[in-house]
């Protein structure tokens, strides 16, 4: 990005400065040059408008909501975490240089376990996915023909949440040692009884914050990808990298919801003393394995799919052949994405699951390996009759595929249950998943080189790139292949048998080479960013996707006109005439038509910004509870805190919907960018609030990490943690309100292809998608309850409330409140102000009645001495209904915000915000219809 200005200069000189072999290759790119020149100017003009400043200013990076900037932030940050995870890996490899007696070697046993655990957590969560999502952020909107993601501020919020969670994880090392129970966090080792350090809780909370930001991101990407594709770019026609990202975010939406449930329960166990995973429980440990692996297996594909996408793109570009069997490739991926949710128990073959289940999961596991065969063959056959250029990106992709083949074959070993029995917990598994996952990383590094000229406008040094590949590939195989040979070594053990020493030493040497190769890469990429050759718009022969049709780097709003594939080829309509020269001459006439139906001013209620504020407030309620409790240790308050951890999440999650609503300020009004600018309605590109929210959450979660077993510790540290919690809470509240009140104009339609949500607004689509993940969240909570109840004998488990009346009354109250929301919607449609206000007020009162009734009920239970840490029955009751209660509180805060707005006539004839709120509210009611029988009657 620093090359920004030079790029503009270099525009005309582009073809000369291109690498020699490529210069004659561009058959069609040349025509695009003028267009990008135009775009560049366009962009510069806008930077000032939107308060972004130049890329060299620090401020820009804190306020930007632009997908390309955020993509760069993701890439740089994730590479930072790669260094951190790599440093931990090198520490481990140093410890493994020889078999070590206790206390010998550079690391203590506790330090080694921390290194093992956090290495895994960082690489899987804080490096791999965010690295892939750096590309997703940068490239996907370009490939789709979208100006930005559907909710740009939420995108920034995801990034800042990610960074905050990573910083918290880093801080956890200094809080008495971080989490040391492995990245799989098996119960009950994950409880304070066995991993008591404050840093342990901080790491769990950090992961929770990370997951919350992933959920925000998933909703954002899904809405964007389903709603905002260029005309003619149907799902079937979507470029393969975008396809892999689409499937990845769908898997993320559901898999991470399950992980969120697991982490909420774990945090409740750690912080406020519920007993889900307690060692004396009958099935807590197995429950964790189910929850974790239900997330954990899709996670494998979540981290690998983007790499597959990079392979597909680079294979096509560098072989000059279209992907063989492209539609089967896509079908195979869809199949894998679906199937990934029914293979998780193959991680549990040695637990007490029975033979029938093992057979079933063996079959699904083998089933899921087959589509990958097809994809691999498809990539290999793509090379046939190609014109393969062994540029750095291709070398990495090719190498990545090769490594993945080895990872895949060794994975088939694990699919055979009898072999899996013996490989479980050994270096075979370690070697296998490193070949698969780091194989994926290899391809992603290829992606980094591939898109580097697009991102920076300059070309990396080819020789250094190849040198990097050579060192990387040798280092990789030296590091991981010996692990297959020394597979009898138990995992996470540094006292291995002496016969294995040479292999482990070889691996350590490989690790140093692999790590060192990244220094070459960093040197290359940093230096080239300043002094590399100007790359031009399209440095790669045979590239075909839309990101190569715009300047390098692309202008702020991406395209010189409205991108469309309406004629079968990419064109930019409605921009200046030179923009239309793209590739074809036909179709110019569509330009005005596309813009014709614009012109409406933004309407949909800025009102729903409320959701933000209230999400924040729900948080406040819970955090308050936590603090009060710390002070008084009073039973009643303590319960309120049970929902605390839960709420922290739901607050975050709802902040999603909240600001999603807000950003829909200009949802349907269809103003093409250029028109809009002339009217003075600019799409916004800057907001400081996401960064502030991220920072506030960091402070809040840092404070909460000190909260253990229902109270803050004594002494100065305890006070500091309590203060951080309080301040963090206030800051979260303040920044969420700030974001809600900010006027922000998101990207506006009309969009070309929106299947299957053509008739639904971005906001509504986002709400539905968010609710889908909430279904999984509650599903996991209910599943956990049912699982534990079965384990302790279904009948022997008495429901906690001895009186079903409060629950029954609450059922009626909630159902009635759903009805009043419908009345409000109906009143808004016939423009009756009083009707809207009265119905919303009724909803608020009914909701308050629900909460009051529940408070009385809980108060009674506390008086009977039933407390959430009493037993697992009580834990499930209070935590699950508490999570639901938190959702009710969020809903009421939204209502509270909407009533005064309704009084001033906000929703008359524009009932969408009420409709969106209604969706949420009905969902909350439906959840209660499941909870009531489960927890009161059965």
């Amino acid at each position: 990005m620093t090359a920004h200005d030079d790029t503009t200069h270099g525009e005309t000189a582009g073809s000369e400065s291109r690498p020699d072999e490529e210069s004659d290759a561009r058959t069609d790119g040349g025509a695009l040059e003028p267009a990008s020149g135009h775009a560049e100017a366009h962009d510069d003009g806008h930077d000032d408008h939107h308060g972004l400043g130049p890329t060299s200013s620090v401020k820009r990076w804190f306020v930007t909501t632009n997908h390309k900037d955020i993509g760069i932030l993701y890439l740089v940050t994730s590479l930072g975490f790669l260094m951190m995870g790599g440093a931990l890996a090198l520490l481990m490899r140093a410890q493994l240089w020889s078999p070590r007696a206790p206390g010998a070697g550079p690391l203590s046993a506790f330090a080694y376990n921390q290194a093992v655990s956090v290495h895994g957590l960082i690489m899987v969560f804080w490096f791999l996915s965010p690295f892939a999502f750096g590309f997703a952020n940068y490239v996907v909107p370009l490939q789709l023909g979208a100006k930005d993601l559907a909710f740009p501020r939420l995108n920034a919020l995801s990034y800042w949440g990610y960074l905050a969670s990573g910083l918290l994880l880093f801080a956890s090392f200094f809080q008495g040692g971080t989490f040391a129970g492995g990245w799989t966090m098996y119960a009950p080792l994950n409880l304070p009884t066995f991993t008591p350090s404050v840093g342990g809780s901080a790491a769990v909370l950090a992961l929770m914050l990370f997951v919350a930001s992933v959920t925000v991101s998933s909703v954002n990407f899904l809405t964007t990808m389903h709603r905002m594709r260029a005309k003619g770019l149907t799902l079937r026609r979507m470029p393969l990298f975008s396809w892999t990202i689409l499937l990845t975010v769908w898997m993320m939406l559901f898999a991470f919801a399950a992980l969120l449930a697991a982490l909420l329960i774990l945090s409740a166990d750690r912080l406020i003393g519920t007993t889900y995973f307690a060692q004396n429980g009958a099935a807590g440990a197995v429950l964790w394995t189910h929850l974790f692996w239900f997330f954990g297996h899709p996670e494998v594909y979540i981290v690998f799919f983007p790499a597959l996408g990079v392979m597909a793109e680079t294979f096509q570009t560098f072989t000059g052949r279209r992907i063989v069997g492209r539609k089967w490739f896509i079908a195979a991926m869809v199949l894998v994405a679906l199937q990934s949710f029914i293979v998780w128990m193959h991680h549990m073959f040695l637990t007490s699951i029975n033979l029938e289940i093992k057979t079933l999961f063996m079959a699904t596991t083998i089933g899921i390996s087959l589509p990958f065969d097809l994809m691999v063959f498809s990539l290999i056959y793509t090379m046939v009759k190609g014109r393969i250029r062994f540029k750095t990106p291709f070398l990495f992709s090719f190498g990545g595929l090769l490594l993945f083949i080895i990872g895949g074959i060794t994975g088939v070993f694990l699919g055979a249950v009898v072999l899996d029995y013996e490989f479980r917990g050994t270096y075979w598994v370690v070697a296998h998943f490193h070949y698969v996952m780091v194989g994926g990383v290899t391809a992603l590094i290829g992606g980094l080189y591939y898109w580097y000229p697009k991102i920076t406008g300059r070309m990396y040094d080819e020789f250094l790139g190849k040198l990097h590949f050579g060192l990387y590939f040798v280092g990789f195989n030296l590091l991981y292949f010996p692990m297959f040979v020394a597979w009898e070594t138990p995992r996470r053990v540094f006292d291995y048998s002496e016969g294995m020493t040479p292999w482990h030493r070889l691996a350590t040497i490989g690790a140093v080479i692999l790590g060192g190769s990244f220094l070459v890469m960093i040197y290359n990429l940093v230096v080239s960013a300043y002094s590399g050759e100007i790359a031009g718009d399209n440095p790669w022969k045979y590239s075909s996707t839309a990101e190569w049709a715009v300047s390098s780097p692309p202008p702020l709003e991406n395209f010189p006109g409205v991108p469309t594939y309406g004629s079968g080829r990419l064109e930019f309509l409605g921009g200046s005439s030179d923009a239309l020269d793209t590739t074809d001459d036909d179709g110019d006439g569509d330009g005005p038509a596309a813009a014709a139906d614009g012109g409406e001013t933004p309407t949909a209620g800025a009102g729903d910004a409320i959701a933000n504020a209230d999400a924040a407030m729900s948080e406040s309620v819970s955090a308050d509870a936590a603090m009060d409790e710390a002070a008084r240790a009073d039973a009643a308050m303590d319960e309120a805190a049970s929902a605390d951890a839960a709420m922290a999440e739901s607050a975050t999650a709802d902040a999603v919907t909240g600001s999603a609503v807000r950003e829909d300020v200009a949802p349907e009004p269809s103003i093409p960018a250029d028109e809009a600018h002339e009217d003075g309605v600019h799409a916004s590109h800057a907001s400081i609030w996401p960064a502030l929210i991220g920072g506030s959450f960091l402070l809040l979660f840092l404070g909460l990490s000190g909260y253990t077993g229902g109270s803050f510790p004594e002494g100065a540290m305890g006070t500091a943690y309590a203060a951080a919690t309080g301040l963090g809470f206030l800051a979260v509240l303040g920044s969420l309100i700030g974001m809600a009140r900010e006027r922000f104009v998101g990207p506006a339609g009309p969009f070309g292809e929106s299947w299957p949500f053509a008739k639904v607004s971005n906001m509504k689509t986002g709400m539905w998608i968010f609710l889908a993940s909430d279904v999984v969240l509650f599903g996991a909570f209910i599943g956990a309850y049912v699982f534990l109840r079965f384990a302790s004998g279904w009948v022997a488990w008495e429901p906690i409330p001895n009186n079903i009346m409060p629950g029954l009354i609450n059922t009626y109250i909630l159902l009635t409140s759903s009805f009043t929301v419908i009345l409000a919607l109906e009143a808004a449609e016939r423009e009756s102000r009083k009707g809207v206000v009265a119905s919303l007020l009724a909803t608020l009162l009914l909701g308050l009645g629900f909460l009051g009734n529940k408070a009385i009920e809980w108060e009674h239970l506390f008086h009977q001495g039933i407390w959430l840490s009493e037993n697992v029955r009580a834990s499930t009751f209070f935590l699950t209904t508490g999570l639901h209660g938190a959702h009710v509180i969020v809903g009421l805060l939204v209502t509270l915000y909407m009533i005064p707005r309704a009084w001033s006539g906000a929703y008359l004839g524009e009932s969408e915000p009420i409709e969106y709120f209604g969706l949420y509210w009905h969902f909350v009611d439906i959840v209660w219809l499941f909870l009531f029988p489960l927890f009161y009657i059965l």
């Binding site: 069609d28 695009l32 070590r100 007696a101 206790p102 206390g103 010998a104 203590s108 046993a109 376990n113 093992v116 008495g176 129970g181 009950p188 080792l189 066995f194 991993t195 026609r237 979507m238 470029p239 004396n280 429980g281 009958a282 440990a285 570009t317 000059g320 052949r321 279209r322 069997g325 492209r326 539609k327 490739f329 637990t351 033979l355 093992k358 087959l370 090379m383 046939v384 190609g386 014109r387 250029r389 090769l402 083949i405 074959i409 088939v412 070993f413 055979a416 249950v417 009898v418 072999l419 029995y421 013996e422 917990g425 009898e488 048998s497 045979y542 075909s544 996707t545 990419l570 064109e571």
Partner: protein, 306 residues
């Protein structure tokens, strides 16, 4: 494909198709077939890949310049679907037949016929931070060392008292998760007398790396003599006592705040942990599994008077 079949036949040889016997034998047979086929498939596929990459390098100028991907085109696929499906079918056949073959072995492993004429012995294996406890049918309990007769099926009922462990004896190919509140069953047969090492295969805390045990396989007669001398009461008394100490020690280990595995000097096991020399003093090894830890564990049986 034909070659593969021949190779497969060669490995299976005259033996019956579904291997049985001890778990070590079963594992070895299947592992060898997988390793062989895996290597063959891997080498063939990767060699093919490298060959094609070389053959179609740009300087070889294969194919026409037209018909190549162009900037701004709607993505579409290249041809070659038939070959793709042929390869896919071939790989599916290999994988499916291999897995179904091992499935029958799984059925055997899950539900073995009685081996030998003696009844199996059932031993309860209990994982603690950070040692193994073995409880015999007569209530006798030992720590760190499991004594079993040769050529007789040992049923293991595995559980844990504190955290998730995994009990595994690599040479005998027995392994099972040790989960608090749950029991998992597995079995093993040792054909030769000697000392084998047991490991913990699930991260269980600061002492995980050194949570080993010994399986001492003796002749049937020796076992009978040994077993006859064990009694419920005395063994339990000792076991309880030393187990208490070990638990104290374990608690120390479990507190990461303590910094590292710095054992207190109260229990014999801790003395072992504290003295690395003692740990490597007595190299009882078995071919291919030269593990000094095995030797250590044998001196650490918790039955010793404290």
């Amino acid at each position: 494909m034909l070659g593969v079949v021949t190779l497969l036949g060669g490995v299976l040889g005259p033996a019956q198709l579904v291997p049985d016997g001890t778990r070590a034998e079963v594992f070895q047979r299947i592992y060898e077939v997988f390793l062989l086929l895996g290597t063959v498939v891997g080498v063939v596929v990767i060699a093919y890949m490298l060959y094609k990459a070389y053959k179609y390098r740009e300087s070889a100028e294969h194919g026409a310049e037209e018909g190549r991907p162009e900037l701004g085109e709607l993505p579409s696929g290249g041809g070659g679907g038939r070959k793709l499906f042929l390869s896919f079918t071939l790989s599916a056949i290999i994988v499916l037949s291999l897995i179904s073959w091992t499935y029958f072995t799984l059925l055997y492993v899950e539900n073995p016929e009685p081996a030998g004429d003696a009844d199996p012995i059932t031993v309860e294996v209990i994982g603690h931070q950070f040692y193994w406890e073995f409880v015999y049918p007569n209530g006798h309990s030992t720590q760190g060392e499991l004594v079993v007769p040769e050529d007789r099926r040992i049923r293991l009922e595995v559980t844990a008292t504190d955290v998730f462990h995994n009990f595994g004896v690599p040479e005998l190919r027995a392994k099972a998760d040790a989960i608090p509140g749950q029991q998992t069953d597995t079995w093993m047969i040792a054909e030769d007398t000697g000392t084998y090492q047991a490991n913990c295969y699930e991260l269980c805390g600061a002492g995980h790396s050194h949570m080993t045990g010994t399986v001492r396989v003796v002749t049937a007669e020796e076992f009978e003599t040994w077993y006859a001398n064990t009694t419920n009461e005395s063994a339990n008394a000792t076991a309880n006592e030393s187990s208490n100490e070990s638990v104290t020690a374990a608690a120390t280990l479990a507190r990461p705040d303590a910094g590292s595995v710095t054992p207190t000097a109260t229990a014999p096991r801790d003395a072992r942990l504290a003295d690395p020399d003692a740990q490597f003093a007595d190299p009882v090894r078995r071919a291919g599994f030269g593990t000094p830890r095995a030797a250590v564990a044998s001196t650490a049986s918790g039955g010793e008077p404290a």
